[in-house]
Amino acid sequence: MKSEADSRGHFGEYGGRFVPETLTTALDQLEEAYARIAFSDEFRSELDGLLHSYAGRPTPLYCARSLSSDLGATVYLKREDLAHTGAHKINNVLGQCLLARYMGKTRVIAETGAGQHGVATATSCALMGLQCEVYMGEHDTQRQALNLFRMELLGARVHTVSSGSRTLKDATNEAMRDWVTNVRTTYYCIGSVMGPHPYPTLVRDFQRVIGLETRRQILDLEGRIPDVLMACVGGGSNAMGLFHPFLDDDGVRMIGVEAAGEGLDSGRHGAAIGAGVPGVLHGMRSLLLSDDDGQIFPAHSISAGLDYPSVGPEHAYLAGIGRAEYVSATDEEALDAFVYLSRAEGIIPALESAHAIAHARKFVPSLPKDALVVINLSGRGDKDAPLVRELLAARRSEKH
């Protein structure tokens, strides 16, 4: 099967371009520039060079022995946590910032939740001499304070957004408003496979490197492709990057793990596929958390990167046709998995990635012993350490 959007960016009933008229021309220009520049030899070799010598690609595919023996199947971790800046976000951002430079844009804006996309954007802008401004919800500037400081250190200006739920959704609203206002000079570097066409396609293409490397590495190591791929899903970029190069391999199961927050029944979660309805937000038609009047209700997750009420349209499409499965893990399960992986493998995962580990702990034991599983470890957990320390201390005092 080929999962490709139509010429207007529709994946089945999802995707498209739902934006104020002011942005239409800019999106046309981006689409044209992307098609013309991003596949040229000059661009490709410059980007490949940066991914290799600057971002540290290829990232290792690590055979997690304790995890494997504990869960009863062969489990590999794709180590995106070892990419420069500590998450997969850099893959997309180096591509987009390079594109911005080729397009002659001098100012780059971004939205960020966990701050990983903001840090990656600030990093790439520092590298390429671009002016960088990042929008971040006030709630996230508090729970991801380290990343706020990193962005500032890298020379970016961070705008704290205090409207709405003060998280990624509201940061995205503000970034869109900035873009509507400054569209002539500004490149909007979207951080996941979401937003208006062509972003979901463009971000996916830049993240496909994860799956392409995985394919090569697992063939080298095991002589066959995996039975199961797993990744956490916020907007869905690390998951899409891993899944997409395997979509034509019918035998490969793909499992996206959304944030169940305090439980899908609690109404406090980020599971747009698990519990959402079709709707329009942030320039795309997708699944989203919306009430019967069409108002968006705030998402919730322990992890800022999954705390988003919608999801990339290609995931909504893959869920609809049944090519990929989507499940969820709660805040508590993610916290447990955060500690579990640290102890079992000596790898401290991002709270986002811990959702994928949490589901693996429940799911992998049900697989045959000879099953081959690849989990995308989308980022490292340093940014979450202060929050996790607080949460663990609170747990201990509850027990006493």
Partner: protein, 273 residues
Amino acid sequence: MGRLGERLAALRERGEGALIPFVTAGDPDLETTEALIPALVDAGADAVEIGVPFSDPLGDGPTIQRASERALRSGTSLRRVLELVKNLRPRVDVPLVLMGYANCLYTMGEENFAIAAQSAGVDGIIVVDLPPEEGESLFAAVRGRDIDPVLLAAPTTTSERLARLARETRGFLYCVALTGVTGARGTLDLGIEETVKRVRASSDVPVCVGFGVSKPEHAARIAEFADGVVVGSALIDRIAAAPSPTAAVDAAAEFVASLKAPLRASGGAAAIR
């Protein structure tokens, strides 16, 4: 031709500029809006844009964001806005146009919305985040119920696309006066005159200009080259600053009268023809 087209044609005939105030329904509550709209019409409004509040209004600046928050807090929903229009309809003979975001309309369902809007007496809709490429089926549904889908054009719109928008819009073409979100601005961006001229080059459709307009001088200047003027944030700022609902209605009516006055004498767009 719908009520909107007829009204703008009659004004053009008389050489008079149209004044179209925008208010967010339910800000601070629907009772106030129900008193406000007839007062705006008495003060000289030629049509009224009624904002349907949305939780994530990404085309709006702080004034309308706040207005939407107040409206949602008071329990305003699309269904209740349609009830408001139904209640107003016998008392108000100017065109009433709903302005909002796609998600609210889609959530009600295209056909359900079109039926409900027609029975309430809605004359037109403006959907901020729905360009014609994506709006095809919704716009067809409302056109089938004699409701005009009004399209927006921006300073960044190419001439080729402007011609298409002018051809496909109904009622009027809404030209956004600036590159940016809604919100009162101290000065008028005169680049808009060039945008309107580009529309005129290919089309006779009435053109109204909005976003950023905040003073009678702005309205007068716009009426020199366009059919009408939309004023939103500057009006809502006055409503929000008033000490009571009655004072808000009075302040809004007074402001609308001051904006309309220079349009009566302007000669309007007909003068440039």
